[in-house]
Symmetry: C2
């Protein structure tokens, strides 16, 4: 949290990862981000992982520092209120972020007729309007078929396309808001999840590889494509990833393991220049055979000591439990984290924004709201409704607070 | 490409994916992005995939629409020129983006002493300054040990942490530039790649899962955690991913396959409510057994026809070759792409920015520069050097143009 964007108000109609992450990134820089959900919660309100009581740790994680308003979006009066919040006056308001199919009356043209300088960011599945989610886009990307050792597709577990899309939304929002602050004009910004995938596959050179070379990157397990990188077992049952992208890292590996002379002989045997990435890639199995024996007689701790301060680029594999319990970076020693009391869940480590701004003090991480926690305050502050009007809306079940009513 | 940020000038000292992607995203919105490299190229200049001649498709993909300046960064005069370009006057200048260890004299304080309102974005490995790259950060993240069926770590192939970091840099840059345009003050913005990973693991609920539940998500192959999603073989040797996140998608799957009544019986047999995500997750193997038989007797094309217009959420797996040759989204029909003549490589499909801005016309995708292509024009336009001065710098091998001299 910081206050860099404290003059902005953004309304989110969202679910799952991408748009919620985009909005949360704005909230973590101080923007007022109002997530509007149907009474009872959106389609992601119970998404896993959940607590034993069924409270979603995922929802809490992706909606930190936002305000939550619960409205009967299936009724005209509920939709009118949502539209009024989106298009409410104020220089930093009039920004809507969504990845849901548009409700009736929530298309850009209609909203713009209610606020001239509206900015609307819309994430869609495919450009033609058809549905796509991280799982389907990933299947099409080519990556699952070169993950692991081949023989069948392996899905990523990190929803990487959604995360990239969320951060493109954040970038697009700030670019559109900058344009508005200079010209006074709003606009609609649209991004398709499948285009995020396609752009990335192209950016990394894989489309060119097919069109120029007529080839495609093979599945090579955990090896690093076009350079040296491999995972090795340790004597104590752990695994480490050792990498040599640069000549300096390659030389450091030879020195730190004492294998420098033998590794150099591999270059002669294989007739490649091991000071080049292509040479190391060509000779990777021979290199790995030597390094594997070195690792296999050492514990993770031995390897940590041997590599400490040497310039070897390496890391060890750990599971989520080990990450949380053993990794100093995932602890109170890292200012990224704060122990936060999340209503309905309990106290645990919550990350803030990974960006550190020297001109904007890092403030404590704020929890996610309870669903509907800010219904009344938003109706008061943003729409100027009276207590009596708000009471009537609750009675009519047009709005709900954190108790679900 | 568009012209949204045409008044900004950003200088990049970068390599590999993250900072180059951040800078390219700015260039694709019209900013003048000057990537400064050592003469002969940086450490990523030959990164794979490459053409048969060794030209990097990866470098071309991540540096589109930029200007390239080649300088002898190992000599004081080369570094002086680089510093002068970074700190050159102009309201939209004075922005530096880097993921390299700082050269002597390129720390924030020194650069700020030459331009008061300097903005510097710096991606580092770990917060303590130690090295970390996508491969080591990923190993620590917990994800490789729950990718695939367990039994050993499986690395992602998409450098997802680098991509997220690059887009956080783009977001941070625009937020810092917004702050400068309001207050006149520059700042340093720092982000650690490992913090991008930690924040994401936390945002998705996996840290809370460990701390609140004492458990961690298991490896479940290509299944979707906490809902229904599975991959199935077709009769013609393809594989499809079928998903039911929402009740509507679940009902659609039953209708489109004609298996609705049988699927409903699974709910009774397993004693779960299949209208909930948790119920479908619990019963996923039984559901998959039925759907697998349905898919196994059908071709990909049969399945496409059966699901068309039904609301079933699904996609098929394809490799990079199939993506490029068979997928309509990866073709000239998609305005994301243009056939671009990349110097030193040839003509192929290059993606532009996936964001469509209604207030900023999409312009043709621009290729990556040849290394040093813009050395002379930048020395002229940004530093105001004369032809004679530029000639002297070339003679002294302080600068180089696209011919390497």
């Amino acid at each position: 949290m910081n206050r860099l964007l404290q003059d902005l108000r953004i309304v989110e109609l969202s679910a799952f990862v991408a748009a919620p992450l985009g909005g949360m990134t704005m909230a973590q820089m101080g923007a007022e981000v109002i997530r509007i959900d149907p009474i009872g919660g959106g389609i992601d309100f119970a998404r896993w992982p959940v607590t034993r009581d069924g409270a979603s740790l995922y929802w809490a994680g992706l909606n930190k520092a936002k305000r939550s308003v619960a409205l009967a979006l299936d009724r005209p009066e509920g939709r009118d209120i949502a539209r009024a919040i989106i298009t409410a006056p104020g220089a930093g308001g009039g920004i809507c972020l969504t990845n849901l199919p548009p409700l009736q009356g929530f298309d850009f043209a209609t909203l713009q007729s209610e606020r001239r300088d509206l900015i609307m960011l819309r994430l869609i599945g495919n450009r033609d309007g058809s549905a796509a989610v991280d799982y389907t886009v990933n299947a099409a990307s080519g990556f699952p078929l070169v993950t692991g050792h081949g023989g069948g597709p392996v899905n990523h577990v990190l929803p990487a396309w959604d995360i990239a899309a969320g951060l493109y939304l954040a970038t697009g929002l700030l670019a559109a808001e900058r344009h508005r602050s200079i010209t006074g004009n709003g606009q609609e910004v649209v991004i398709a999840l499948s285009d995020v995938m396609l752009a990335t596959v192209g950016n990394l050179g894989y489309i060119g590889d097919v069109q120029i070379n007529g080839t495609a990157r093979p599945a090579i397990g955990n090896d690093l494509y076009g350079s040296f990188g491999h995972d090795f077992a340790t004597v104590d049952g752990r695994r480490v990833m050792i990498i040599a992208l640069t000549r300096r890292q390659w030389r450091a590996l030879g020195r730190a393991t004492g294998l420098g002379d033998r590794l150099a002989m591999i270059g002669q045997i294989m007739d490649v220049d091991l000071d080049t990435e292509a040479g190391r890639y060509e000779a990777r199995d021979a290199i790995s055979a030597l390094v594997a024996r070195w690792c296999a007689s050492r514990s993770l701790d031995d390897i940590r000591k041997a590599f400490s301060g040497t310039g070897v680029l390496w890391g060890h594999f750990q599971d989520f439990l080990q990450l949380v319990s053993d990794d100093q970076r995932c602890s109170g020693a890292n200012p990224l984290f704060a122990t936060v009391d999340q209503p309905g869940i309990g106290r645990y480590f919550m990350p803030g924004l990974p960006l550190d701004f020297s001109a904007a003090t890092r403030l404590p991480t704020r929890p996610a709201p309870r669903l509907g926690e800010h219904t009344d305050i938003v109706l008061t502050e943003v729409l100027g409704l009276s207590a009596a009007e708000i009471g009537r809306l609750h009675d009519d079940r047009i709005t709900a607070g954190p108790d679900g009513r």
